[in-house]
């Protein structure tokens, strides 16, 4: 059963140069107790998507369509006052820069209790006890824990381990797995690092230029990517375990979202694009149970995977 279901969610930014569809028709589920890895490059809309879910978007952004169904309620349709019942209590967020989520001039304990009492959920004494419990549960890394102070059911973690040393990163990922088990917490882990997803997440959703291009159980995506972008990402990622094979970059740059290409947004960089890809936007389709991809040639994925390992194919002319 899905705790969160996004249905054709669209988020737009109004800019001086026009309207940009940063999140453009995203359909995605997060199940109870699962860790979903949301992977993509900078500017692909993954942070915007996370912020849209708890509706803390920047002023020039708005939800332009679609649904955010959390536990049966469409958050996108809620008045702002009611939305506050969900923030922190049901859905919490660890923003990208952890140091920014805590006020440097207040002690950690006070910051915990503030979250717990301001929302009216607990008395100060109970709040104090609750924060101590949480600290015991996870050990040293208390600073990120404010997000969990109210026992939310869904945690949005935006690049929680980026820029951390690997040993600290490992500890936090380990803690995240422990918490999901002990608190039956669901997590959306936003990251650009597919290695982190491989070892931490149950499922992986790959985002490109405002679209989800592939959603699959993690064990399946690494041997069998179905979208050419996912194949390209795998080619370009150095693997600590593998011998020194040559990495293949994805040439070109993501499209300008003010003027996205009419067909598939990845087509200009895709070595397998056919005429249809340039004019018709591929829908996200379920190819096998639980395995979704948005590619007109997804049925040929087996053959494309083999071809995708040839460096020459990725040298598409850059416009």
């Amino acid at each position: 059963m899905a705790l969160l279901a996004l249905e054709d969610l669209r988020v737009e930014y109004r800019t001086a140069r026009g309207t940009s569809g940063a999140v453009d028709g995203v359909t995605l589920e997060v199940r109870e107790g699962e860790v979903l890895g949301l992977v993509g490059e900078s500017g692909c809309g993954k942070t915007t998507l996370g912020r849209a879910i708890i509706r803390v978007l920047p002023r020039n952004a708005r939800i332009a369509g679609g649904k955010i169904v959390f536990d049966g309620v469409d958050l996108a349709a809620l008045p702002e006052a009611e939305m506050n019942r969900y923030r922190w209590r049901s859905i919490a967020m660890v923003p990208q820069a952890a140091m920014d989520s805590l006020d440097p001039v207040y002690r950690l304990g006070d910051q915990f209790t503030e979250v717990l009492t301001v929302t009216g959920a607990l008395t100060r004494t109970d709040a104090r006890r609750r924060s101590l419990d949480l600290c015991d549960l996870v050990g040293l890394d208390r600073r990120r824990l404010v997000a969990l102070a109210l026992r939310p059911r869904l945690l949005l973690a935006d690049e929680p381990v980026t820029a951390l040393d690997v040993v600290v990163q490992h500890r936090i990922l380990k803690m995240l797995r422990t918490l999901t088990a002990e608190l039956s917490l669901s997590v959306i882990l936003v990251t650009h690092d597919i290695s982190v997803v491989a070892q931490t997440c149950d499922r992986m959703a790959v985002m490109y230029a405002g679209n989800i291009v592939e959603t699959v159980p993690t064990p399946d995506v690494f041997p069998r990517p179905r979208h050419p972008y996912t194949m390209g990402l795998q080619n370009s990622f150095p693997n600590l375990l593998a011998p020194q094979e040559t990495l293949i970059p994805i040439e070109g740059v993501p499209p300008d979202l003010l003027h996205p290409p009419p067909g598939c947004r990845f087509a200009p960089r895709c070595p397998f694009a056919i005429d249809r890809c340039l004019v018709e936007r591929p829908a996200l389709r379920e190819l096998e149970p639980g395995r979704w991809a948005a590619c007109h040639r997804a049925e040929e994925a087996g053959a494309l995977r083999i071809q995708s390992q040839e460096a020459e194919r990725w040298r598409v002319p850059v416009p």
Partner: protein, 344 residues
Amino acid sequence: MARPGPMTRAPAEAAAANGPLVAAEAVQKYFPLRRGLFARRAPGEYLRGVDGVSFAIPRGSSLGIAGESGCGKTTLARLLLRLITPTAGRILFEGVDLSTLDGPALLAFRRRAQLMVQNPYEAINPRFTMEQALAEPLVIHGIGTREDRLDRVIAALAQVNLRPADAFLDKYPHQLSGGQLQRVGLARALMVDPIFLAADEPVSMLDVSVRAGVLNLMKAIARARHLTTMYISHDLSLVRYVCETTMIMYLGTVAELGPTEAVLASPKHPYTQLLLAAAPVPDPGRPLPEITAPEQVPTPIGPGIGCPFQDRCPQVMPVCRTVPPPLVFVGPKHEAACHLYGPH
């Protein structure tokens, strides 16, 4: 081959031609700490940025330096480029002590050794066009005429696969993607034909899909020009991809040094083992391993008695508390600074 020079110069020339391009000999860099706004320096209160490091980089080879933030990697790079000077020890470049250079010799060194930094948007003046940014090093070193410089700039852009080069000449940094601008950063470092290139986290700001392009380019250019390179990275998979030799640093010291494959495939130092265990790998079949190392935040401040890694080491022994471990050979060309391996 010319006749041998005067006897006094022969040893230096021999060292320059056959020896390593860069050699560090017991290099230390301590940063004095100040207490309070107007307090005097407290004697003995130092931050040990680099604490007795020795290694050599053979000509044409690539050295990767890895370790956690604060381990002294960047300080070491700045020392090797003589952006700062060591507190003790010597750094030899082509056999010559860097601290003895001044005037024209220093300018010549600045031309031969170049640095590529992490953030290309900081490296390149936002008010410069690509043509200005790339011509600037030529102007500083007085290379070429005005027309000649334009030709060199165009050739440099083409060399880093920014084509057609003419299209980039009048562009400003904000008009380029991170990957394109980092290529310009590379081109800029190569404008004055260096023989040594140090790259400090050259791709960590870039998107995954374009990192490989920049790394492949750096590898190809280094090979074609017989450049000696040094990469600083916290990412061991990157080091494995580009470097023949790997050096693992911990709290300003060398923990392990050796051929990359040996260091990463059979790490000897408990710290290297910890780093490798913690590093994520793209293999869903391998769950996150259990790590038993104590959670200590190491400090580079204070006297530093014994092994710097003792408080986090799962295999700590009494000797580690008092005696700093020297580098000992643990395999061919492979050294580790750990009492587990001697000296016995």
